[in-house]
């Protein structure tokens, strides 16, 4: 029985030492090799003073050393904190201070950025993976791998110890650090490996960057099942045509990403020439998958099962729905909760609602976080405690997502609880407006916002991204909406943009998009 995440690697290294755990381009790491390097890094971290519960940053682009970094940190009793190397320094500095990170694990290709990040920063004492010309201790991977583990004293770690902290942006306020334990991380690995029947022959395309919560599938679930994770390079993620070639070459069996990554793969009709009969699971989550694309994919890969995955980072995954043909005409449900998980749908007063009525989704699960780092008030605010008996409580995470249960008992996602607005007294569901705009054959993506035009005057605005060769203006779009939406729900301002700003995980960057639209309104 496994109790901690590093035991995943120790266990798989025992049963099949030679099998590839991770692959990145031409570099590969067998399970036995990964185990050895995990201990080498753990030993180094212990020697330089990392104590159980200390936070250690991982500042990397996608690379094979990521696997060594996270398992080495956890094996030393440390808590890994993914740091997005693409994010502005101000945010990274905030994270470094917020959870007092004294050590960073990195890689040679981040030398320039890391140097500019750490110049004038006093918090970081040492860097592993790249030698810097700064007054900070640093060691390269090559030197670290010379460690012969003499006098190595492994640290005892347990299921309740912290394993990692992931920061989410949140639409308002400073980033929040979501704390996961070995127990919650391992529970996710076990539940996801069981649900998708992941086995040792599977080859998973690891697309998500480490700071995006779904990266745990590639880094925990796949090694848990003794399978192989193929870490896609940053270059491949940006170049869909190269990516399609790679997927064919590696004969990928499981894919997991936001819908956008799949949509980009479709463009140009390049994917149709690729032989991807190997693919058996396509997992998607994070955003709605526009039906017209999903249809194209189910035709292109009829041998694959498409699964709509839902779960805020606070609980990892918690629901799933395997797409069936009937779904392709409506809103795809987020489905039902998986094992060892229960849910409630509640109204504003925390009373459970009847079937078919929309309310907030609350989740109780073995995969749930410990809480937010250094923020008990927020942890308390986002949990709901149900008294079962005088001595037993059930703790639920309040997702802030509005759902209802449909006639088949499946959960349907309606939107964030902050996506319903009132304009001139009319209640407007912004998600509904977006789904109507998307019905137009020329619209690739749509985002709807409320803009305060002047004090007290709110208007509904929409940003559209069109398919190539379509030429649609706001007049045509307004006309299109007329038969489908009540007058008050038709956006007053419709802007066609050449591209949408994105977050590093590929979702629409709504705050930036809102600013851009607001600027246009002021210019006009």
């Amino acid at each position: 029985m496994l109790e901690t995440l590093p035991q995943i690697i120790e266990n798989s290294a025992r049963s099949h030492p030679e099998r590839e755990a991770f692959r990145f381009g031409s570099k590969a790491l067998a399970y036995s090799e990964l185990e050895h390097r995990m201990h080498q890094l753990a030993d180094h971290l212990i020697r330089i003073g990392v104590k159980k519960g200390d936070r250690v940053g991982v500042y990397m682009n996608r690379c094979i050393e990521t696997a060594i970094a996270i398992y080495g940190i956890m094996r030393a009793g440390g808590v890994y904190v993914p740091l997005d190397a693409m994010t502005p320094h101000s945010r990274t500095l905030f994270l470094l201070k917020d959870c007092s990170i004294a050590h960073i694990v990195s890689t040679r290709s981040q030398k320039k950025r890391l140097t500019s990040l750490l110049t004038d920063t006093m918090v970081v004492e040492s860097v592993i993976g790249v030698t810097l010309d700064l007054n900070i201790k640093s060691i390269s991977w090559d030197n670290l791998f010379e460690n012969n583990l003499e006098n190595y004293q492994p640290v005892a770690i347990g299921p309740d110890d912290l394993a990692y902290i992931m920061y989410t942006s949140g639409s308002t306020g400073p980033p929040k650090g979501i704390m996961h334990t070995h127990f919650s991380g391992l529970s996710y690995a076990r539940l996801s490996a069981d649900l998708y029947g992941v086995h040792h022959l599977d080859r998973f395309a690891s697309h998500a960057p480490l700071h995006f919560d779904i990266s745990t599938f590639g880094f925990f679930t796949v090694p848990y099942a003794g399978a192989t994770s193929i870490i896609l390079s940053d270059a491949h993620v940006k170049m869909p045509f190269s990516l399609a070639q790679l997927l064919e070459k590696e004969q990928i069996t499981i894919w997991y990403s936001v819908p956008l990554a799949l949509i980009q793969l479709l463009q140009g009709g390049f994917l149709e020439q690729k032989d991807l009969k190997s693919i058996r699971w396509v997992l998607f989550g994070g955003e709605n998958f526009a039906l017209k694309y999903l249809k194209t994919f189910t035709k292109l890969w009829p041998h694959a099962t498409f699964c709509n995955v839902y779960g805020p980072a606070e609980v990892n995954q918690c629901t799933y729905h395997n797409v069936v043909p009937d779904d392709l005409n409506s809103n795809i449900p987020i489905g039902e909760v998986w094992s060892d998980t229960s849910f409630k749908i509640m109204d504003k007063n925390y009373k459970e609602v009847d079937d078919g009525i929309t309310g907030q989704l609350l989740i109780q699960s073995v995969t749930m976080m410990r809480g937010y780092w250094n923020n008990d008030a927020l942890t308390k605010k986002s949990t709901y405690i149900e008294k079962v008996t005088p001595t037993k409580n059930n703790i639920y995470y309040c997702t802030g997502d509005m759902v209802y249960k449909n006639e088949y008992g499946k959960l349907v996602f309606v939107g964030r609880n902050d996506r319903q607005v009132k304009i001139r007294g009319y209640r407007i569901e912004m998600n509904e407006v977006e789904s109507i705009l998307l019905r137009h054959e020329g619209v690739q993506e749509a985002a709807v916002f409320v803009i305060e035009k002047e004090e007290g005057v709110k208007i509904l605005a929409a940003a559209l991204l069109l398919f190539p060769l379509f030429d649609i203006d706001s007049k045509m779009m307004t006309k299109f909406c007329r038969g489908l939406l009540p007058q008050h729900s038709i956006p007053t301002m419709i802007e066609v943009l050449p591209y949408f700003p994105r977050t590093s995980s590929g979702k629409i960057d709504r705050p930036t998009l809102l600013n851009r639209i607001t600027d246009k309104l002021i210019d006009a």
């Binding site: 682009n61 190397a85 502005p88 981040q110 320039k112 170049m239 590093s504």
Partner: protein, 79 residues
Amino acid sequence: MEQILKDFIREQLANGTLEEEIDIEDDLLGSGIVDSLGITRLILFIENEFGIKIPPEDMLIENFMTVGHILDYLSRRKQ
């Protein structure tokens, strides 16, 4: 041509986070100088600036990895 590309990448795509000049051999895609939205903008920029159309099948790592690769690609397209 080289300078136009370097300036655009440095000023428009790198978010002002790059202290040094961009080198002709800097890995734009792998090291994170340009993000995925940036690559879309870079392609639009090249199409407008140099008056060519870049078909989807040319959007490969080997054509866009560094400023050097882009220059090679553009000179091949001119022939």
